[in-house]
Symmetry: C2
Subunit: 414 residues, 2 copies
Amino acid sequence: MPVPSDARIDIERFWTTIERSAEIGPGRPGGLSRLAASDSDKEVRDQFVAWCREAGLSVRVDGIGNIFARRSGTEESLPPVVMGSHLDTQFNGGRFDGIAGVLAGLEVCRTLDALGHRTRRPIEVVNWTNEEGARFSPPMVGSGAFTGAYALDWARGRTDEDGKTIGAELARIGYLGEMEDKPHAFDAYFEFHIEQGPILDREGMQLGVVTGGFPSTGMLVEFKGETAHTGPWPMERRKNALLAGARFLVAVDDLGWDHAGSGGKATAARLVAWPNKPGILSDWAQAVGDVRHPDPVTSEVMAERMRRAAFEAAAKADCGVEILDIWKWGGRIFAQELIDQVRDSAAALGYRHMDILSQAGHDAYYIARHAPATMIFAPCQGGITHNNGELCTREDLEPGLNVLLQCVLERADR
Amino acid sequence: MPVPSDARIDIERFWTTIERSAEIGPGRPGGLSRLAASDSDKEVRDQFVAWCREAGLSVRVDGIGNIFARRSGTEESLPPVVMGSHLDTQFNGGRFDGIAGVLAGLEVCRTLDALGHRTRRPIEVVNWTNEEGARFSPPMVGSGAFTGAYALDWARGRTDEDGKTIGAELARIGYLGEMEDKPHAFDAYFEFHIEQGPILDREGMQLGVVTGGFPSTGMLVEFKGETAHTGPWPMERRKNALLAGARFLVAVDDLGWDHAGSGGKATAARLVAWPNKPGILSDWAQAVGDVRHPDPVTSEVMAERMRRAAFEAAAKADCGVEILDIWKWGGRIFAQELIDQVRDSAAALGYRHMDILSQAGHDAYYIARHAPATMIFAPCQGGITHNNGELCTREDLEPGLNVLLQCVLERADR
């Protein structure tokens, strides 16, 4: 039985689901602070699993806590069409970032139930573990481990600031299952997400057709110096690792301004040092910076300048330096057939839409290595995100959800 | 019975005492990490009290944990001559900084016992609580509270990074006594201390006659911004408090270099931020900087430039800024009569000596508001301190100890 092309998701049902999720792990007013593998992550996972079971989905948890909720198809042997994102948040996060993408998948399944429609291919809804990287670094560790970008033992061994590991914390909250020998094939992966930037809102668009991601580079740099007294120790003999880190962050920010005119961005993201106390120079520091630019060549130039800035900062503070990690993401990684499908569907439904590059990292970036993948962006008010002021209305979300529904149906029934 | 002017301390006995202390609270190889009001602070206090009782001293603990060990005089109603410093260390501290000054007082008392000499005035040896400010901020909180610079309740309420207060921690280790209604008068205060700088060692001097301290200013600055996503958020809308703090620290360091040619120093000492994580801009940061210069006018110019640097850093990062605290120390605060006495005694004993300014803060700075006070510096190898490489030999310490003995005897018997 084909589904009528006027099938639509139920925005009120979706909204009620979002609001229930927003009661779990409250942060600052209106926002959430629902860190990966915490008690509140357990609570929202339990709620999500309960909703999935009510919708007749079968639930499986893998070896890094990713939850797969499956709606069977008429041909169960075919690879599923998959939707997903993440239910964890930043320390000062909002109620839509990631969450809307997981609950969108649930809403698509509920809509199909209401229509009494069983697709040819199975459908899966996924919650990826620790996308934010707020409690455990790196971010997107669940999708990264699923696709083999991270070894499972390494991923499970990532620690929070109290030294607790992801693996132990997932086991504690009851969400550590078995990893597949080989990740199961996806027919396609669609990730619905808020834009996390001001463009769609400013341009009055109802959704964004995500054609790729800003080519981006992040860098973890370690500086080593010597402790000494802050008073008598001569300037020319100081090896203050905290200062080296501060000089690096300032250089990264300057780099962002140098390229801001053409859309570049750079972030002075993190700095920790030891002992980091008045009265003593620090002998150790770690800093994290990142650079992003829509043009791949310029993005590489920025990354190289950031690398040099680390060495220059170390030299100025007479410290040793080591780049402990460099990670790159973004580029033209999404499947053209899915991008075109999203654009065509938005046009067919009469929604104002535009092509857009993602500027943030997403689980879809890893999944794109595993299967044809793309993303659908919804506008968010003022582009505010990673902040309790993050805000979307029903009207902001509904068009993207309906495009998601149509795309998943087409893929799953073909 | 007058004491012969050839009375000398017993350097081997003193050295054994230093070595026993250096077994308590071990840090990195050769160094100590004996934080105020910790278990190891309790252990060294217990050992110090035991030594004092063996030497016939009566021990009293005040309301902020300062330990006063008293050797009676023939005229007990006269104010005591006091020696002291601190037994706590930095996270990566040495075995002499502060410790040598407390144990020097004990050694003077032991020497008088060996001579069978009772002075006219009483003598007291003091261990001041939390001089370093490593665990609890601010530094010198024991001597500050004793002299009334800090209200007792405020001082007791200072917290470490786990939220534990000095007062509760002192009570836990058994060193919280009663405060005097009014701090008892001192006839004079002598603090023996290692220089914590390279000058005496470089110049081949056996001791330093401390004529005052570098006029110095420290500043605690708070920056407030907004959390946002590090990716899509436009450069021109970012309010990254971590970046404001980093810009402040870099400006403070630059200021130190601007004045280094005339002996100035500036320190980028501390920076903390929240959430201080990859993926999110920080909305809060606190930074500590300090400036020091031997010339009072230049020192004030540096302090004003540091203050402006805070506002400029905030403006560049589009953050709010508040200077939460400014503290000043140093200057010509010591008693001329005691300075002259130290110099004369060093000359009479035939030691190579020079006048010197202290560049670090010391308990003597607060005590100088309460009584005539001065300091005697011993050289330390290479000037290394606040580092486990801190090193003195018996020969570095013996001359200053003998000058201390002579000065205390003269004062106490006059």
